[in-house]
Symmetry: C7
């Protein structure tokens, strides 16, 4: 992370640093979405662009824009 | 997305851009609804028009207007 | 919907348009309630009149007034 | 309901009309409680008097006063 | 209940009437706690004194003071 | 409890009386944590010191400080 | 903990003391994440750096930065 832990941002602050970047979003159900992080809010509701859906590592579907509801999100990792 | 990630809208802001557009709504239970996105709020409660219900890819039922409660929504994708 | 998607109501706004109308309410458990929509609030807590309970498509029980807690609601469809 | 759907009460408003009346409360677990509705709040937390607990239609237990937490409630029906 | 349903207390109000009294607390998991109701809040978080834990009707454990988190509570009944 | 039920503290008030004391924390998953209660908040988020993790009564792991999220907590009992 | 239980911080206060330190984060699903605690908020949403994902004790994956949603977190332990 740019400023690293020394900065006293909350997690949403760190997330805003990777807006526009490629991310991996894992859901509680283990389904994975990859895409460009267009936007995220305090509930980790996520707007992705160029979205791909992976199930057990296999590409299942591609979308343009997709909005994933935060309560289903396990983690968001910067690729 | 029109303005893309450079814009600092939150996800609801992006969602409002596709009001009136055809969308695919996937629920946590994997049931899929297709229809015109009439309205969405911060909880991702959704009002759809010309709604179709798909289970395992098969059309099960058609409604006029339907209101889907946000906590059941996994994602909303612009068709 | 009367004004259709062009209107910028949130879903509760749309729901208020069908107060008094016959509706189908599907729960997460797939149980279905049919009745007249007497009232609904922001949590999709619902007050129904002349309520019928259907399980697997079969009429199980009839009530006068019934109040269904919103968190159990999957969708509300205008009949 | 006394005023019927024409009234623009929210569901809690309708519930307050049946305070003191005999009700049936079904929980998500399908356990049913019958009793006099002493009080209910916005979360559908319920205070019942002369409470009876039914499991699979059989009377299991009787209590005087019982307080049922709203998140477990599926519906409340006026007997 | 002392004032009965005619009083327009919410359920927490009724609960406060039985502070200090012996109660039975049933959890969603069917585990039962018996003890003196020392305190309860709006979430039905509970402080019990002389607490006993029953599983399938059998006494499993005794505690002095115990604090039970409200979201696990199914009901509280005055013994 | 020091002042007992006559005091009108809410459960958090009672919990603050046992700060620094040895406690047993049982989770919804039946995993048990024992340690010194360093801190607790209104959600029953807990900070423990000298923490031990027990599964089915067997010591599995020891930590220094551990922070347990409140929604997983079933109860906290003063040892 | 530096000041120990005598301090009347809430758990988030204690967590802020270990910002930058190596931690172990266990999820409800028993998946474990190890990394440097970059940031944490009141919901226990967590930003980690140099993140490693362990399943059944085995290293599965390494990330740079990862953001774990609080509702999935069972505990955070300072290594």
């Amino acid at each position: 992370m740019e400023n690293g832990a020394s900065d006293n941002k909350d997690p949403s602050g760190f997330l805003s640093e990777i807006i526009g970047a490629p991310v991996t979003v894992k859901l509680n159900s283990s389904v994975v979405y990859k895409g460009l992080l267009a936007s995220v809010d305090g509930y980790m509701n996520i707007a992705l662009e160029k979205t791909e859906e992976y199930v057990d590592g296999e590409l299942r579907r591609s979308y343009g824009d997709a909005f994933v509801r935060g309560n289903n999100v396990l983690y968001i990792a910067a690729d």
